[in-house]
């Protein structure tokens, strides 16, 4: 997982009028920034298309799980 560039993040937040919140900052340590950087290289259209595909896959996995349980 990529590391956060802590102080820069906080400066950027302040530039947008947000005061860094210690609880949110704690959660931020677990954010996988490599995924975000990858997504930022895609267009919004590609991002939604990926989401639609992922949601369809999740739905299919749920159905498969239900079938295996005999639901």
């Amino acid at each position: 997982m990529a590391q956060s560039d802590g102080p820069d993040d906080q400066a950027i937040l302040r530039r947008f009028g947000f005061e860094p919140d210690p609880v949110i900052e704690a959660y931020k340590k677990d954010v996988d920034r490599s995924l975000l950087r990858q997504n930022l290289m895609r267009s919004p259209d590609e991002r939604w298309a990926n989401l639609a595909a992922a949601v369809r896959l999740a739905e299919e996995m749920r159905r498969a799980g239900a079938r295996s349980r005999g639901d």
């Binding site: 993040d9 937040l13 609880v23 930022l40 939604w48």
Partner: protein, 161 residues
């Protein structure tokens, strides 16, 4: 069922419904890596737009999500006018239409904080990233903490490009 995001977006755009994409779908448009199952929109509460919204969804059997079946519910312009926020199930999937959101206000308040993005062949208004963060922070829901952390990281990553 999986929400048909492309279908929903097209139906709303093709019927001229004035909406702003918010929530997880907006987060995805900005680059979030978190999955979302439903689509959330803030709609303009003008009489014409409420009529357009009702017409657009009419063929997709809109019904109150989680409500017992058989209630005398019709998602028509009058119902929309009398209500404000609707959490619906439709044949295109789950969708929320909100007249107002905490930390963002109504359509008219949010409109200056949107970007027009081209998705699924349609131009849609999407709440911008700082406004989305502001709204999520204002909502103050514990379940949003991870999402806010990701959005703030996203804002920082985007600003560094």
């Amino acid at each position: 069922m999986a929400t048909d995001f492309g279908g929903l977006t097209s139906v709303l755009a093709d019927n001229g419904v004035e909406v702003i994409v918010i929530g997880g779908l907006a987060a995805q448009a900005h680059g979030s890596a978190r999955l979302t199952q439903d689509a959330d929109f803030v709609y303009r509460r003008s009489p014409e737009n409420m009529e357009r919204l009702a017409t657009a969804l009419a063929s997709y059997r809109p019904y109150l999500r989680g409500a017992p079946p058989g209630l005398p519910f019709a998602f028509d312009a009058e119902t929309i006018r009398r209500g404000l926020n609707f959490t619906l199930t439709t044949t295109l999937g789950d969708v929320d239409f909100l007249g107002e959101i905490v930390g963002g206000g109504k359509y008219e308040d949010l409109e200056p904080h949107t970007s027009a993005l081209s998705v699924f062949g349609r131009e849609v208004l999407v709440i911008d990233l700082p406004a989305l963060i502001r709204a999520k922070r204002a909502a103050g829901r514990p379940k949003d903490l991870e999402a806010i952390a990701e959005l703030e990281a996203l804002l920082a990553e985007r600003e560094r490009i």
